[in-house]
Symmetry: C2
Subunit: 338 residues, 2 copies
């Protein structure tokens, strides 16, 4: 039913080789012939079959993006950058949404998509030792964004610094009792560049530098969600000596904190300071002070690096670090200036 290259060849009275050459803009076709072929193509509305084409070319023109819950704002922002970079290069985007560990394993280990995509971009997902090695061996180009593996090109943000700066900012503004609502530390927390773990480390560093005690009761770990943030905040604020400021590992959790404060009639920032992490759009609207990650750029850079790996499959894995920056909103009270 669909029109094939043979139909075009017959229509134009040439061989399929010639049609192929015309379609792919290759030399050695007499202008007159080219015209005839073009006319036939147009008349028959011929479109080369991408499947058959990638069968022989061994490339699909698509890259896979594997993300846990693409619906989280952080990922949305990164995806924007990914999409823009991909579209610019004429690549298609196959989205693999992971909602549990089993699925993650299926994708990383099973590699069922082998050959369906020319490369893989993983967001906030760390393949385990074995998977990483296999990916590396199979030769499927992979880039990790917001995750790290020594065997794979990884793009990470400086979470330790970001967290450190956030806490330092609070301390400089006179806060001494600081709550920290962290996200769940997924996977092996001993590994370097685990976002949640690194943010905890940053906290320690800032506290230590200021000579403040680390108080375990002020540190909670929740889902990366509004509900998680809210519930944790309620617990922190119910403490005999509640914190004067709360730092969260993500903006969405910070929003949960704001929600909790509202429910308790606690005024932000007068009675409670809040600082988030990410820099999602919603945070801007809420005037939330936050550590901004370059999410869009992470997506763009991820694609760029992935393209490089597709071009040069053999090249050694790289590690790229990006920085965060503070965006001041109106949710942090300056108890006393430093």
């Amino acid at each position: 039913m669909p029109v094939t290259i043979h139909d075009v060849a017959r229509e134009a009275g040439v061989g399929i080789g010639t049609v192929s050459r015309v379609v792919n803009n290759r030399p050695y076709v007499k202008p007159a012939t080219r015209e005839r072929v073009l006319a036939a193509i147009n008349k028959l509305q011929y479109k080369p079959d991408p499947i058959a084409r990638s069968m022989i070319l061994k490339r699909t023109g698509a890259i896979g993006v594997i993300v846990p819950f693409f619906t989280r704002f952080f990922f949305m922002e990164v995806l924007k950058g990914v999409d823009a970079a991909l579209t610019r290069r004429g690549y298609e985007l196959v989205l693999y949404n992971i909602s549990n560990k089993a699925q993650q394993d299926r994708y990383f280990a099973g590699l069922p998509m082998l050959r369906r995509v020319d490369g893989l971009l993983a967001l906030s997902l760390t393949p385990d030792e074995d998977d990483a090695r296999r990916l590396h061996e199979v030769g499927l180009p992979v880039v990790l964004v917001d995750a790290y593996s020594p065997l794979l090109t990884s793009i990470v943000v400086n979470n330790i610094d970001g967290s450190y700066l956030a806490i330092k900012y609070l301390i400089e503004n006179g806060h001494r009792r600081i709550g920290f609502i962290n996200g769940i530390i997924e996977g092996n927390f001993n590994r370097p560049f685990n976002p949640a773990n690194d943010r905890l480390i940053g906290l320690h560093r800032a506290l230590g530098e200021a000579g403040l005690l680390f108080e375990p009761e002020l540190v909670l770990e929740t889902e990366w969600s509004r509900q998680g943030g809210r519930e944790a905040a309620l617990r922190l604020l119910a403490l005999p000596r509640p914190p004067s400021a709360i730092f969260t590992a993500s903006d969405i959790q910070a929003i949960g904190v704001l929600e909790a404060a509202k429910a308790l009639n606690i005024v932000v920032p007068d009675e409670l300071s809040v600082i988030g992490f990410d820099g999602i759009e919603m945070a801007e609207f809420l005037d939330l002070t936050t550590m901004v990650q370059p999410m869009y750029q992470m997506g763009e850079l991820g694609v760029k690096k992935l393209m490089e790996r597709i071009e040069h499959p053999g090249s050694p894995p790289e590690l790229l670090r990006l920085d965060t920056r503070l965006r001041e909103g109106h949710t942090v009270k300056k108890i006393c200036s430093a």
Copy 2:
């Protein structure tokens, strides 16, 4: 380099046909033979090449979702439903993000993805006459969600009713001067089921029913964005006789209205009532009163209908209508109860 069906056949000492039968769990394979093949497959870590497979099967196991700016909250919610339904059925999701009309044409008209996906789900995008006919002729299964074409299966929400109910709700609560911030009416606004246009119609109906005058100066049309909503609100509120309530065609615009109110020190709902449309998560957090669309279900239903079309390519296009419902938050003041 990659191991093929031939390698497995050789390893197991059988023909490729047998291997194929084993791989696809088909009958007529002696248990002993099956075992041998399975062993070979396992030993060689053989994975069938999906490309070659779909070349002959004529199906890719992927469906394309074409959406204008997937980053808008409304689409996110719909996409969640789409993704869930697709994952459940083992389909892959190819995302086509459209950011301008040219791209839309390229996808609808050019059909370059012909054969790359088994079906197409379009969100809030209406192919024009020609494209619709071509899609229909080519036989690529298509389902429109939040858009309508007589030639294609379409899933729409009852926007007229939704808008009517929203306005009626405001009127019942004593509002007489109501601003309406609509989204841009894309494409041909004469067509039925154009969301923006239908919401305008609903306004007319409710006003008419209540014997209120339609005042053009109170109706603005903006981008479906926070900025759009904010700017429009600023204009409405600068009117000599500003409205006591504003209805927006989307929650994100309503949030822009809240932003404008805050900037002007206008208290919501005491001095200004706001009602949105969509029911996105952020609206819930902000306690925004809004007309809720069944976004998740729209996505799910879209996939379901698309699957049906894939099974029965010849079946006539359907038109499915879903209803909206009011979710009361705390952004509408009851001036007087009805």
